[in-house]
Amino acid sequence: MDVSQTKQEHLLALKVMRLTKPTLFTNLPVTCEDRDLPGALFGELMRDDPSTIKGAETLMLGEMLTLPQNFGNIFLGETFSSYISVHNDSNQVVKDILVKADLQTSSQRLNLSASNSAMTELKPECCIDDVIHHEVKEIGTHILVCAVSYTTQFGEKLYFRKFFKFQVLKPLDVKTKFYNAESDLSSVTDEVFLEAQIQNITTSPMFMEKVSLEPSMMYNVSELNTVTLQDQGVSTFGKMSYLQPMDTRQYLYCLKPKPEYAEKAGVIKGVTVIGKLDIVWKTNLGERGRLQTSQLQRMAPGYGDIRLSMETIPDTVNLEEPFDISCKITNCSERTMDLVLDMCNTSCIHWCGVSGRALGKLSPAASLSLPLTLLSSMQGLQTVYLMKWQVCATHFLWRISNEDDRREQRSSLGSSLGGIILVSGLSHLQVKRSRQRALTNIHPSDGVHQPEQITSAPQRCR
């Protein structure tokens, strides 16, 4: 671009105007009563004003559209529209006019012109008009490059360019959090809860038209953002689904592994792709924006090689009365395991049965149901917990699980010495904490069944 070129030399003038949505004119109602000094004057003035609403002049929001007054902000996901006008300022006919509009981003250059063919001629005081649209997909500096080439009537070929720079900003801030909810009693099928916090970091209110989670192939998703009231789904966000600047909203989704993946607990493991959020919003008079997050990844809860889950457990048991529980042991490793069940009594819980019993071989991804009987001699935990029995049970199971883990360690490591875990006297406190976290992290108000975290991770010590 030859900047030093004197501007008068060009016969054509190029103008660009960003076409954001027009706005509705607001008027400023000032009224008086007939009895006041101006009498009916103020009323008449307002009625005569074309921008007021006839019959309701005091309604501030009028119907008159006004063109955008400034470039405004442009946000990722919105559509950049612009009017490009090339006007023949001279008094001569100009020929072979070619107008090209490119958008230069940090990574690429896009051609936005509707047509690339040259206009054969442009008479004085005539215009070439073009309205370009581009959905903004990159953040940061964009440069609209408009190039005009033409031939004067004397056959002189002229060319000029203009650059229009603008910044594309980020409209939303999205944060996600996963909660693993193990279906406590039924199976190893695990639900995952995704909590997404979406914050409007623009400066204008934003209507969230759609916020949905598109799950990856392994999951089915259900949205938990509506509550059914009288057969109608009512949004948990209230009547108006808009987000003021800097407001944050939390969306909740429940993901269930599809059956083919769910049954094999070992399949979903490590880092898995959960899906992505698709967000569509609108602002002034329907100005639309759309964004997708990147694939949300989640670290599947590691169960180690062995996973133990509860199948049945009584709600309440009597003191010093044996009761039955049953649990399920799943081999999540890729090796066959030989399991031995050690049962260690504590001062308050006593196992009924033989400790050190071999459970036999468990092949990968296979599971084993295990009925057990135990009895409690103390109520100590009851004072701490509301759900004491369950928690107690958790506690025991946890210990079993550690036992199992130890066995597993031995076998899988193939070492007789190395990985022996001494089961520590795990305090109830720990169990309690786990329980509390499980409770507090799920908001009952969300209408979600509470994920139960019965099984805990194997304790690993050196």
Partner: protein, 813 residues
């Protein structure tokens, strides 16, 4: 044994909500290497949609400062909506972001607000200083005597200006929290970016504000591009403007029979003493211009001129003050127990007064219509002036009435002492622009009415208002108030009010508001406090307004006072005041429904009167609700705004269609098209219910057009506006909107031709700032010769518009 160590670790182990960091998970094989905390994890991660910005650049309009790339030193787009052709590069440097017309509710206006408050702070301090100094200057040459009521005579003129009162309330900066990083509350979380580069968004926010809505156009001078708006508060700093204008000082220092001041004074005061009891509007118009004897100065005279009060209270001439108390003594006992509200004593006066009237009326039995009229007027007075002051004021008013000597002398703090805060607004921005662009000769042709060119009376004032010369009208109110002794520099001095002086204040402040000179209005409103002061009630002046009670301040002025803070970035204060008004309205309505008088006293209101009162107060209530809703809309509290608009429908059922459409438009503004359509459907139903009324059909069509517009379907929107025009070819809104749609369809020339034609054919309708703004915007887009075309518009404006025309829409500056 790790039993000791284990507990410490376990919270992590068992914690299902552990925020995990994906990057830290080294391998998908957790068995032996992954730390225990990975087993059960919940990840919190921030998905950065765009990345972080290294430098804060909120919006393009803020970025001119940044160094430009070398090869980009041509026109930048940032602040400029319209870039210009080579010839006009000067013009395009003027960022149009300060455009006055702001209809865009979706653009945040905090930035602007901030700016405004800064500006405001500056202006206020400046004017305060000046205020004090000029007050001192005036100390010697104080001219009084224009408003000498007997009350004032009792007081030594109080010269101390009250610097405290003048000091502006410190402007609040409302948006300090915006810059807080808000998504850092969690532990360090990994950032997934959709796009590779990352930038941090926080610092962007403060810059992102666009000047909008709240902005007073007169303040754009500093930033916008220097229009020659005559009356920006910053101009008050120039000494010339601060002082009473030379013409005015002359006006009052000259003495003599032909003194226009005394002329004026008579024409102003005489009616005020008379009108104060009868209907003020009824008698204003034909006013003899010949100087009258200053009857206003003595209360006896006043009373004698009040024919009906003399008649009704035979003793009034001799012992006018005792009359109310006489009645009070008779009627108080039964009333005192039951009457809870406003002035327990005086209420008995009018009701008891009306009884003698009835007798009189019976006696004269229609032979004299003036009596019937007088009675009905007093009813009207009561209805309109009714007010519920605060308990304290109410008690003070009672004591004023019972002690016979009205004002409690010590209580100057409960009295208002208003005075003009600035003088001589005169100025004509249109003319200034003409001087600049069209030369002196053209400017000479501009003829507008000024304060001096009209009769110095209410008639002249009305003339100025209706010809849209509001600046001149403000000047005239200033003159009239000066004649009343509340002129420039008189703030803080004891004074008394009359019905008319307060009406003048109302007109002045209303016009300042209309001119968007909100700071000026606030300054002058300041001495009035919360409009709950002793001397703003008729009971305070038992000699001048015997038997009259209620608020001297017109309701419209209270409303104006309540609305004002919303324009000064204090919308919460405005809401508070509006809620107070609403409470009073509701209480009065409740009283009326219980067949009591407005103030809750036992009444002898006829059924007809009660109905009239109910009607009046319902309309006032709905007006207050409108203001509330408008204020909420400005605050972008759409939920509440919609709720309030909806609640107005019950009071103004005839505005149902307009209100529902308005609510629909609010939803469109938010972007919620579905809900908007729900409301528009309601509108259509409402229209079907009523008979086919063309204006309602246009309303339906208009709504459809807006929906199309919101769906980005400009062609359909255009078609719908054209449909409206088939029904109502002169509809300015549809015409303008159709033209706007054409532009979005890429048909600039057509659009321009249409608007130009409209402005030429029907300037009365289309010389409106919104239309002109659109037109000038298109001129700028179309050609490099936009300035000439704008000047042509300026000429058109000059022929028709008064001095209140907002020249910024011409974008000539």
């Amino acid at each position: 044994m790790d039993s000791e160590e284990a507990p410490a670790q376990r919270p992590v182990t068992l914690d299902i909500t552990v925020d995990d960091v994906i990057r830290e998970a080294p391998s998908p094989e957790p068995t032996s290497q992954v730390p225990a905390k990975d087993y059960l994890l919940a990840q919190g991660e921030s998905i950065d949609l765009g990345g972080e910005f290294a430098t804060p650049q909120a919006d393009s309009s803020a970025s001119p400062l940044e160094s430009l790339m070398d090869k980009l030193n041509d026109q930048m787009m940032e602040s400029v909506m319209i870039s210009d052709s080579p010839n006009n590069s000067e013009e395009e440097d003027v960022a149009p972001i300060d455009s006055f017309l702001d209809g865009d509710p979706n653009e945040e206006n905090e930035g602007n607000t901030k700016y405004d408050t800064d500006e405001q702070a500056k202006c206020l301090t400046i004017t305060t200083e000046i205020e004090v100094s000029t007050v001192q200057q005036n100390e010697d040459s104080e001219f009084k005597g224009t408003d000498e009521t007997n009350i004032q005579e009792h007081f030594p003129p109080c010269m101390s200006s009250h610097p405290d009162r003048l000091s502006p309330s410190s402007p609040k900066c409302e948006e300090p929290t915006l810059e807080k990083g808000t998504h850092l509350k969690e532990e360090p979380v990994p950032v997934c970016t959709i796009f590779s580069q990352g930038k941090h968004p926080h610092s962007l926010i403060p810059d992102g504000f666009q000047p909008t809505l709240i902005k007073s156009p007169s303040f754009s001078l500093g930033s916008g591009g220097g229009t020659d708006e005559a009356v920006t508060p910053s101009k008050l700093t120039t000494p010339l403007v601060c002082q009473p204008s030379p013409s005015l000082s002359k006006f009052f220092t000259d003495n003599g029979q032909t003194n226009p001041a005394s002329d004026f004074f008579d024409s102003f005061m005489a009616p005020s003493s008379f009108i104060s009891v009868s209907n003020p509007n009824a008698e204003i118009a034909p006013r003899p211009k010949t100087p009258k004897t200053p009857i206003a100065t003595t209360p006896e005279h006043q009373l004698s001129s009040l024919s009906f009060s003399t008649l009704s209270v035979p003793t009034a001439n001799s012992a006018h003050v005792s009359v109310p108390t006489e009645f009070t003594e008779k009627h108080l006992p039964p009333f005192a127990q039951t009457v809870p509200a406003l002035s327990q004593h005086l209420p008995s006066a009018p009701s008891s007064q009306s009884q003698p009237f009835n007798h009189l009326q019976a006696v004269f039995s229609g032979s004299d219509d003036a009596f019937a009229k007088a009675i009905s007027l007093s009813e009207v007075d009561r209805r309109h002036d009714a007010w519920l002051p605060s308990e304290e004021i109410r008690k003070s008013l009672i004591s004023v009435a019972t002690q016979q000597y009205g004002p409690a002398y010590g209580e100057t703090n409960r009295l208002t002492m208003p005075g003009l805060k600035f003088d001589n607004l005169q100025g004509d921005a249109v003319k200034d622009l003409m001087l600049r662009f069209l030369g002196e000769q053209a400017a000479m042709k501009r003829q507008v009415l000024t304060a001096s060119s009209v009769e110095q009376s209410f008639v002249g004032l009305q003339q100025l208002i209706s010809s849209k010369n509001w600046r001149a009208a403000v000047d005239l109110t200033g003159r009239l108030l000066t004649a009343h002794g509340q002129g420039y520099g008189k703030a803080g001095q004891l004074t008394s009010h009359t019905t008319n002086s307060l009406q003048l204040w109302f007109v002045r402040l209303a016009l300042l508001t209309k001119l968007k000179l909100f700071q000026n209005a606030e300054l002058e409103f300041d001495p009035f406090g919360d409009l709950d002061q002793l001397d703003l009630f008729y009971e305070f002046y038992p000699t001048i307004y015997p038997g009259r009670q209620g608020s001297m301040v017109p309701f419209s002025m209270r409303l104006l006072h309540a609305e004002l803070p919303q324009h000064l970035a204090k919308p919460q204060e405005a809401l508070d005041r509006l809620h107070n008004l609403k409470t009073v309205c509701l209480t009065i309505l409740k009283n009326l429904e219980k067949c009591l008088a407005e103030d809750g006293s036992m009444s002898s209101l006829t059924e007809e009167n009660t109905q009239e009162s109910l009607k009046l107060w319902r309309s006032r209530l709905s007006r207050v609700l409108y203001s509330m809703a408008n204020c909420l809309l400005m605050m972008k509290d759409y939920v509440l705004a919609v709720e309030v608009y909806q609640s107005i429908i019950q009071y103004e059922p005839q505005q149902r269609v307009q209100l529902l459409s308005g609510i629909g438009r609010i939803f469109l503004q938010i972007g919620d098209i579905k809900t908007a359509e729900v409301y528009f459907r309601d509108v259509e139903q409402a229209c079907q219910m009523t008979d086919v009324n063309p204006s309602l059909t246009t309303c339906v069509l208009m709504n459809r057009a807006f929906v199309h517009l919101s769906q980005n379907n400009y062609a359909e929107a255009h078609a719908a506006f054209i449909e409206v025009l088939k029904l109502d070819p002169k509809n300015p809104v549809a015409n303008n909107n159709a033209a706007v749609c054409l532009l979005y369809l890429g048909r600039l020339k057509e659009s321009l031709g249409k608007l130009e034609g409209l402005v030429q054919q029907d300037p009365a309708l289309y010389l409106h700032e919104s239309v002109l703004f659109n037109l000038t915007t298109m001129y700028e887009l179309e050609s490099s010769r936009s300035t000439q075309k704008k000047q042509a518009l300026l000429e058109a404006v000059a022929c028709r518009e008064g001095d209140s025309f907002n020249t910024q829409c011409l974008k000539l500056a």
